[in-house]
Symmetry: none
Subunit: 240 residues, 2 copies
DNA sequence: TAGAACACGTGATAC
DNA sequence: TGTATCACGTGTTCT
């Protein structure tokens, strides 16, 4: 976990950072042979100067390393910091995503067919959502948790009269954020009049109308903040 | 499709295949300097023989290339055969999978929230014509013309960046007001990103995220006002 | 000390 | 023509 960027720093990023800026200038000011930049005077079999090839190759290498770094950033499961390992982890992750998508789509299909077929006469419709709830995707067997923390962008708690407090919460739209928010608000045991969630362009907006008095406003705000902070903290004493 | 392995074959796979087996043997039988394998007799600053480094490095390169090839195999969308492009395509594909998975999971969440009765909140069974799979919420668009007029309490149209205009509309909650609002917004043929309606204590709040530029803001506001006014007027020229 | 991983410069090659 | 990309051998650094 915490040693993730430890050994990596020694022989990879430092070397990469050694390559930028002054290193480039150093290599360019002294382009491997002695002539500065213009046309090569010798005019041997190699017509164009070798320095161009050098800097071009250097740029290519840098681009490739940047891409590899970006790939590492998008893949959450990282075993080692190897170049080869990064690619391998990416492959595994893509296949895992494939399988997961297939599973989820199968569940959707099952849910939809079950919903349209069965009438709501009996009370047995309780077991299906329960089983769905248990199969959340925080099942990564190795280490890193898949649920992203809730990043609050804005939180407004205001009284609107008629014993109604409106909670307006905006946060980043990440994996499982919606479910986490619902669970957080459920854990607060509020008298919810109405609530809804809206997602748009990377943001997630939750509005909840709570039956409460005006003097409970600040207390409610603190409770929400505490609950979300506890949710984000891995070793939360409350947990769930 | 079929030109996929065309230019690729020229300067990539052929070179890779040149590297296997007999190429290894060639390099190993003649290990770059002349001495066969045992300890280096010269004993200079470089104590261990360079041939081991060569073959090791060669194996490392081969492994990395194999991994890259495998990555290319798992990613269906391939633009170019570049090493860097392969990685870039993989990154894009992973992000695409992320977004898709989030969409699907949102659909699951929506399905199960509409089904479970004792869940944390509300009955948000109204959904927008997102072309996710199929359109629900297709009620009879006319029939009895006896409907209460839409009484606007507040109408806010504001630009939120990223080509997103937010329409916030509050009105009195009367008979069929919800359906009317939906029909009005549907008739405007907007590029709706997300929308929702919330009802509480005699009010009805509709929020719509529309894909539009900032300069379309005022025009959009007028169109909404006009459409609602035309809806309320019995002898409207637009009607339905 | 042996080994693994890396960046570098260089010649080759395809477009 | 030049300009990409690539594999290769080498020296260096970290474990």
């Amino acid at each position: 976990m915490e040693d993730l960027g430890d050994e990596y720093k020694h022989y990879w990023e430092t070397n990469i950072f050694l390559q930028t800026e002054e290193f480039d200038r150093w290599a360019l000011d002294e382009p491997i042979s002695g002539y500065s930049d213009s046309s090569s005077p010798d005019g041997a079999k190699s017509s164009w100067p070798a320095s161009k090839n050098i800097v071009s190759e250097r740029n290519r290498r840098k681009k490739l390393n940047d891409r590899l770094l970006a790939l590492r950033a998008t893949v959450p499961k990282i075993s080692k910091m190897d170049k080869a390992s990064i690619i391998k982890d990416a492959i595994d992750y893509i296949q895992e995503l494939h399988e997961q998508e297939r599973r989820i789509q199968a569940e959707i299909w099952e849910l939809e067919s079950g919903k349209s077929k069965k009438s709501m006469d009996f009370e047995l419709d309780e077991e299906m959502p329960m089983r769905l709830k248990k199969k959340r995707m925080d099942d990564n067997e190795n280490g890193c948790r898949r649920t992203s923390p809730i990043e609050i962008l804005e939180l407004r708690v205001s009284y609107m009269g008629e014993r109604t407090v409106v909670v307006s919460l905006a946060c980043r739209k990440r994996t499982d954020t919606m479910v986490q928010l619902c669970e957080v608000f459920e854990s607060l045991k509020l008298k919810i009049i109405t609530a809804n969630i809206t997602a748009f362009s990377g943001r997630l907006l939750k509005t909840v109308f709570v039956e409460a008095d005006e003097e409970d406003k600040d207390d409610l705000r603190k409770k929400i903040e505490t609950a979300i902070a506890a949710r984000n903290d891995p070793e939360s004493p409350i947990s769930i």
